[in-house]
């Protein structure tokens, strides 16, 4: 364990953490991937879901599960799968919370406390990037994640197939159809400027 973690590659960092519980190795590994994980989470979640909460959840799950990682496999497959699951859990939790909030609001008759009045959320919804991400999310899952990871993060088709448990041919056909739908959804924003006053 004498080697500095800065001299180790990803596979060595994962192995060191898994075998020796070396948190410095875990931190070095996560530091490398966190920007990509944050972008993926941002792509998956609507503005009113707290992305920071999900980021933390991903790190907790990663810390608990990375020790069982199969050496030799690509760690990004595992990382993106954890992110995808954590985001799905957050969306389910939001759905339950909204149901509760609606019931409470009906009881109190003073409006839904989660109706999006937060100025930060309103600002986020109005940005150009938010419209792009809303169009992406409108594709549904796993298509949105497939397009994002393939085209934005450069994840290979074979790796996507492993991550989502799909045959490679299915990944390719879904990518093709989803890109067409995404381009169509973005078309008004990219050609017209019809929304400008």
């Amino acid at each position: 364990m004498g080697t500095s973690v800065t001299a180790l590659d990803d596979a060595q960092l994962v192995e060191r953490f898994a075998r020796h519980g070396d948190n410095a190795a875990f931190e070095a590994f996560v530091r490398h991937y966190l920007p990509a994980l944050r972008r993926f989470i941002a792509a998956r979640l609507p503005p009113d879901v707290d992305a920071a909460e999900v980021e933390q959840d991903v790190l907790v799950r990663l810390h608990a599960g990375l020790g069982r990682f199969r050496f030799g496999a690509d760690p990004t497959t595992y990382l993106y799968r954890i992110c995808w699951n954590a985001a799905a859990d957050a969306l389910r939790a939001r759905k339950r919370e909204r149901g509760r909030a609606r019931r409470m609001a009906a009881l109190k008759a003073d409006g839904d406390p989660r109706n999006g009045d937060d100025p930060a959320i309103q600002l986020e919804r109005s940005s150009e990037g938010a419209r792009v991400l809303a169009a992406l999310r409108s594709l549904g899952e796993p298509d949105a994640s497939l397009v994002y990871l393939r085209d934005s993060e450069g994840v290979g088709v074979a790796e996507l197939a492993r991550t989502f448990g799909l045959p490679e041919g299915t990944v390719k056909s879904r990518l093709s159809r989803a890109r067409g739908r995404l381009r169509a959804a973005l078309e008004p924003d990219t050609t017209g400027g019809r929304h400008d006053p």
Binding site: A51, E53, D57, D151
Partner: protein, 126 residues
């Protein structure tokens, strides 16, 4: 928008648009690596404390059920004891840890866990 890189089947123009959008949101989220990592480490610590406490609590509840007379082993009684276990577990948690629970509430998880254990047939194969 349509300049797909035919060599590797990647639409780089679409990718660049998505990258900018996600980078914008990720940057707006704020906390740097150390903040995210630090909060996650705190959460790991809380979860570990909860797990250490929850298992003995659940085990105690199951043992209590075993010595209850059969007439008290009805669903309402089990639910009441499970709720007590959950409340005890919740007292050592903070709200952040609750939100981290996969099903939204740690109390729900403990209740289900205890209920499942209770429903096992002591003489059965499980």
């Amino acid at each position: 928008m349509n300049d797909t890189d035919e060599d590797d089947g990647r639409d780089t123009a679409l990718g660049a648009l998505l990258y900018r959008a996600t980078e914008e949101r990720a940057n707006r989220a704020g906390p740097d690596f150390d903040a995210v990592y630090g909060r996650a480490a705190e959460r790991r610590g809380r979860r570990a404390r909860v797990l250490r406490a929850a298992v003995p609590l659940a085990a105690a509840a199951v043992m209590a059920a075993a010595i209850l007379p059969p007439v008290m082993r009805e669903r309402e009684t089990r639910a009441m004891v499970a709720a007590e276990v959950a409340i005890l577990a919740e007292r050592i948690m903070d709200p952040d840890a609750f939100r981290a629970a996969p099903d939204g509430s740690f109390a729900e998880g403990v209740s289900v866990f205890v209920d499942e254990l209770w429903n096992r047939d002591p003489a059965g194969s499980d």
